[in-house]
């Protein structure tokens, strides 16, 4: 009985100390972690948006579709609607979810995409994050483009030996564009004065 008490107490004390230590470190690193996440997001947003002079990170239009919130970061230049960026997700990748940041201009053209998170196969599917693949989306008309890979009779070049990854990216873009098209009016007014 006495021995058992000693065992319990030893573990309890060690866990207590560990808990206090972790709480302290967690508190100290919470701000840098949040800042790093914010910086990564801001970098992705500004990389896909046309020129702007507002703060798209805090000018956002949110709409909930089927329980999923869609956030559109609105870029404005001289008070005029310049474009919008949104984050979209596809779970049809080869290695888990693929998250894409998509930028659209006010003229209904794509401005660029960034891969935020992907765990595709290195050397094959991971090429979706490379310029060669991403640059083909620039200036594509969001209405006139057939949003599917060429293998599926669409107009996007898939990566050789990585059709699944390419298809997932295109699907993510397409599902986001659908929402964007439906709410273009509201999005373009977000952040305008008056």
């Amino acid at each position: 009985m006495k021995e058992m008490l000693r065992l319990i107490l030893t573990l309890l004390v060690i866990c207590l100390i560990a808990g206090v230590l972790l709480a302290f470190v967690n508190q100290r690193t919470a701000a840098p972690i949040a800042a790093a996440a914010r910086a990564a997001k801001t970098a992705a947003i500004s990389a896909v948006l046309p020129e702007y002079d507002n703060d798209p990170g805090s000018t956002a239009y949110t709409n909930e579709v089927n329980g999923t919130p869609w956030v559109f970061y609105v870029a404005r230049k001289n008070g005029q609607f310049a474009g919008a960026a949104f984050e979209s997700l596809s779970s049809e990748g080869y290695g888990g979810d693929i998250r894409v940041m998509v930028g659209v201009t006010s003229k209904g053209k794509m401005h660029g995409i960034q891969i935020l998170k992907a765990m595709e196969t290195p050397g094959l599917g991971a090429k979706i994050a490379e310029d060669d693949f991403r640059s083909q989306f620039v200036d594509k008309d969001i209405e006139a483009t057939n949003w599917a890979v060429k293998k599926d009779k669409g107009s996007i070049d898939q990566i050789t030996a990585a059709t699944i990854s390419s298809r997932a990216v295109v699907n993510a873009i397409q599902s986001g564009l659908e929402i964007y098209k439906q709410h273009r009016e509201e999005i373009s007014k977000t952040g305008s004065e008056g």
């Binding site: 030893t10 060690i14 972790l22 470190v25 967690n26 972690i33 790093a36 290195p122 050397g123």
Partner: protein
């Protein structure tokens, strides 16, 4: 002198990867590039030294029956601290190492050193052991990583600068994928054994491949007997 001996043994004689063949999960999984290997090695070394210090300093206070849970709590605490610090201050590295940081908790080397060394030796020597084993682990990972990255990518890239490029070859993507880890480890292990056999022959002795490519340092399975 003892400090030096405990330190140096981890680099070659008891190198965790090539001699003890411990910690194979991270050794195969993260060595797709030199950068990842270095990051993983440094993180594991930090945890190893910290856990060795703490476990060595409380070794007389821990009852034998609950020592494993105590070690795990200490190790897990340091791993979480590394995870949080890396997330906040080295975000890019954190992204590429991802899941493998939390997995340091179950890295056999760290628990193995706690059990086989730190719980039986004073702090000073435990630091030497932790540093040596950690550096040996980092060295092993980096060699594996360099081998795989050169063959699989045709170049070595560290923090965005191309450090080394091999011209005129088609990268073997296989070497970066999971099978490449096994192939590279097998080739390097064979090469190391060959080197040892050569040097033993020179000295007139004979070389036997290590019969102890197993968990000889870890006594967990003897626990309770």
């Amino acid at each position: 002198m003892r400090f030096w001996n405990e330190f140096i043994k981890g680099l070659w004689k008891e190198n965790p990867i090539f001699r003890l063949v411990l910690g194979m999960c991270p050794a195969l999984a993260v060595t797709t590039s030199v950068e990842n290997s270095l990051g993983m090695g440094v993180a594991a070394t930090f945890v190893l030294v910290c856990s060795n210090i703490v476990i060595s300093s409380i070794r007389h206070l821990i009852p034998a029956k609950v020592r494993i849970p105590c070690f795990i709590v200490v190790i897990a605490t340091f791993v979480t601290i590394v995870d949080l610090l890396m997330n906040g201050y080295a975000n890019e590295l954190h992204k590429s190492l991802g899941l493998f940081i939390p997995l340091i908790v179950v890295n056999c080397i760290i628990l193995g050193r706690a059990e086989a060394f730190a719980s039986k030796h004073p702090i000073f020597l435990s630091i030497a052991d932790g540093l040596g084993m950690g550096l040996g682990f980092t060295l092993g990972l980096t060699i594996l990583g360099a081998f795989r990255e050169i063959l699989g990518e045709g170049s070595i890239t560290i923090w965005g600068d191309i450090g080394f490029q091999v011209g005129g070859m088609q990268p073997m993507v296989l070497m970066i994928l999971a099978p490449g880890g096994f192939i590279a480890l097998g080739i390097l292990l064979g090469f190391m054994n060959h080197l040892q056999a050569m040097s033993a022959k020179k000295r007139g002795g004979s070389f036997e491949p290590p019969a102890h490519l197993d968990c000889r340092h870890c006594t967990i399975c003897k626990f309770g007997s």
